[in-house]
């Protein structure tokens, strides 16, 4: 196990450097003078040569690429991504203040998707070949093909415009500050419903499909046949033998979910005007606020890296074959 852990961690460090190089290369392959990265929307033309040279020097643009990469790496290590072009506040500060909003949205959506999707997938795997199973397979497939921004618009049209039972967008109502504590909570919950639904349905389809194929895979194994042969009922074989082992591959799926959740967040937060990091990223992209774009890209990539590392280690802990194979 220890060899596996050490090796996996070393790969993680390597991937981390790969991520920093990837972002560095992306920034430096953007057409035009990289100085526009630091002068922002004002454009390099409007500034005098002296000022430009000063900015160049200040951001180490007059040094070699290797040294520039060194400075970038140093910034990453010290969590210093500079100041936003928009409000001149620290990028890390801006991210930190938006993060809780994104977390609450995604955690709730993830829980709903996992708690419904996984049992649904297992249930339909146990009913393999029956009409109900095929119907649910087609349904998850169609769910999977629905564009989330369209679903969001339809939900808004139905619940906010036609039925007028839920708020159209935003995180709180206008009169939020005048409400008492319970009403405040209820108000927040009401605003959560539509964005959470939009985020949850695709994840639900993914979880259902994945856990279904995991169970189907396990059912084919010899030890299930052996269990059935020695007289275990098919229900017990499913519960005690198949489902438990099928849960292990789900760890990997949960580890890989983060980037998809973040991608989904960009769209959902934009539509519902939810002040999270997804919306922050889009705003930064649209206003060419490069420090914020770089900081957020780096932060999400590292978060994903850590999540997949944890998932891999858990997987190895749960399934001895993985760590034995690695030796």
């Amino acid at each position: 196990m220890l060899t596996y852990v050490v090796r996996r961690l070393l790969y993680g460090v390597l991937t981390f450097f790969g991520i920093t190089i990837a972002i560095f290369v992306l920034v430096h392959s953007v057409p035009g003078d990289p100085i526009s990265f630091y002068t922002g929307m004002h454009g390099a033309q409007s500034l005098s040569q002296v000022v430009l040279a000063e900015i160049r020097h200040e951001h180490h643009l007059d040094e070699s690429l290797i040294r520039q990469y060194g400075w970038w790496l140093r910034g990453v290590m010290t969590l210093d991504f500079g100041h936003s072009f928009i409000d001149h506040r620290l990028v890390t500060e801006r991210i930190a203040e938006r993060l809780p909003n994104t977390l609450i949205l995604n955690v709730v959506a993830f829980l709903i998707a996992a708690l419904i999707g996984v049992p649904l997938g297992m249930w339909s795997a146990a009913r393999s070949g029956q009409t109900i199973e095929r119907a649910s397979a087609v349904t998850t497939f169609l769910l999977y093909s629905l564009p989330s921004f369209w679903v969001a618009l339809l939900l808004m049209e139905l619940f906010a415009v036609r039925l007028n039972v839920l708020p159209l967008f935003g995180m709180t109502s206008d009169e939020y500050l005048e409400l008492n504590v319970m009403m405040k909570l209820a108000d927040r919950a009401r605003h959560l419903i539509l964005p959470v639904l939009t985020l949850a349905y695709t994840q639900l389809a993914v979880f259902a499909r994945f856990s279904k194929s995991a169970v189907t895979e396990v059912i084919r194994q010899d030890y299930i046949t052996a269990a059935r042969a020695k007289g275990v009922t098919s229900r017990a074989a499913l519960w005690h033998h198949a489902f438990r082992n099928a849960l292990i591959p789900l760890i990997t799926l949960f580890g890989l979910t983060l980037p998809y959740l973040i991608s989904g967040s960009v769209i959902v937060e934009q539509i519902f005007q939810w002040d999270g990091v997804g919306r922050l990223y889009l705003e930064a992209i649209l206003t060419r606020d490069y420090p914020t774009v770089l900081g957020l890209s780096m932060a999400t990539a590292v978060a994903t890296l850590i999540a997949s590392l944890i998932a891999d280690l858990l997987y190895a802990a749960a399934d001895p074959r993985i760590r034995l194979e690695a030796q």
Binding site: I19, S145, I285, V293, T300
Partner: protein, 290 residues
């Protein structure tokens, strides 16, 4: 080889045809493709089948609900939604197909190298894939499109560069399997160069499963392209795209349901069709399904 291969394709087609849903999906994709190709003729001017061009403005009928004149209604500038959707099909299909082609080329290249040579090459490609997978796809696509300027080409390249990892893993897996087969040994024994073995012997045999992943790839590319357009960073205006019609629908959601419904249905059906084709094609390739 040719005879054998055509035998495989005939068998696959026969199994594929058994699914009604798959045939409907295929017919639908054919229909949309024809609309896309013929768009400049179908929706051009008052003399064409749909008597509006995609950018013709009917000022008297702005945000007009569907009627005999404008079958799918008009948008906030008075442009015919049906005409714009037919032209939007061009963008969706072109970007979907070209982006997938690009991700196939990049993915096959890395997958083939990793699977054929194994060892250090495999290790490097695996690390590369690991790095790419750390970035949320939409983040990368948005950044590439925004930094390099929105156009059909940057959208296509952004999608191609972010989705090749799937294809690479597919090709790698196939290569690991077939490189140990007799025909691969025979080719090597007869003194064929590596590039010849890869391109003439291994790649054609890995082609069918890769085609399955390509079908899912097209679905995904169409979905992401419309999401980019929806967020305002896709193919720039005034080019009509399904995503951009939905983007303006967002601002008029209280008045114009037709702007929400029609383009959304178009995206959904097209994406679903490619997903269904990929799924049934995968089943059809599997000889066990007989």
């Amino acid at each position: 080889m040719t005879e054998n291969a055509s035998g495989m394709w005939t068998l696959t087609w026969r199994r594929f045809r058994r699914s009604k849903l798959a045939v409907i999906a295929l017919v639908y994709v054919g229909f949309v493709s024809i609309l896309a190709i013929a768009a400049p003729m179908i929706a051009r001017s008052s003399k064409s089948l749909i008597p509006y061009g995609p950018n013709d403005v009917d000022v008297a009928h702005r945000l007009h609900p569907p009627d005999a004149q404008h079958r799918f209604g008009t948008d906030e500038l008075g442009r015919d939604v049906l005409a714009r959707m037919i032209h939007g099909a061009r963008v969706s299909l072109t970007v979907g197909l070209l982006a997938t082609a690009m991700s196939l080329i990049v993915g096959s290249f890395f997958g083939a190298i990793a699977g054929y040579y194994g060892g250090a090459a495999d290790w490097i490609v695996s690390r590369l894939i690991e790095i790419v997978l750390c970035f949320p796809l939409l983040f990368m696509a948005l950044a590439i499109v925004a930094f390099f300027g929105p156009s059909v080409w940057t959208v296509m390249i952004a999608l191609g560069l972010t989705t090749w990892t799937n294809e690479a893993r597919f090709v790698r897996g196939e290569f690991l399997r077939i490189r140990e087969m007799e025909f691969a040994y025979a080719a090597r024994a007869s003194g064929a160069r590596d590039s010849r073995i890869i391109f003439r012997h291994l790649l054609p045999n890995a082609f069918a499963p890769v085609l399955v992943s390509a079908s899912f790839g097209v679905a995904y590319a169409i979905l992401t392209e419309s999401a980019l357009s929806f967020l305002g960073l896709g193919v720039p205006l005034p080019t009509a795209t399904w995503g951009s019609i939905l983007a303006s629908a967002k601002d008029f959601i209280e008045y114009a349901w037709w702007l929400v419904v029609f383009p959304g249905v178009a995206i959904f059906l097209t994406v679903a069709a490619f997903n269904i084709i990929g799924d049934r094609f995968r089943d059809a390739l599997d000889p066990r399904s007989d």
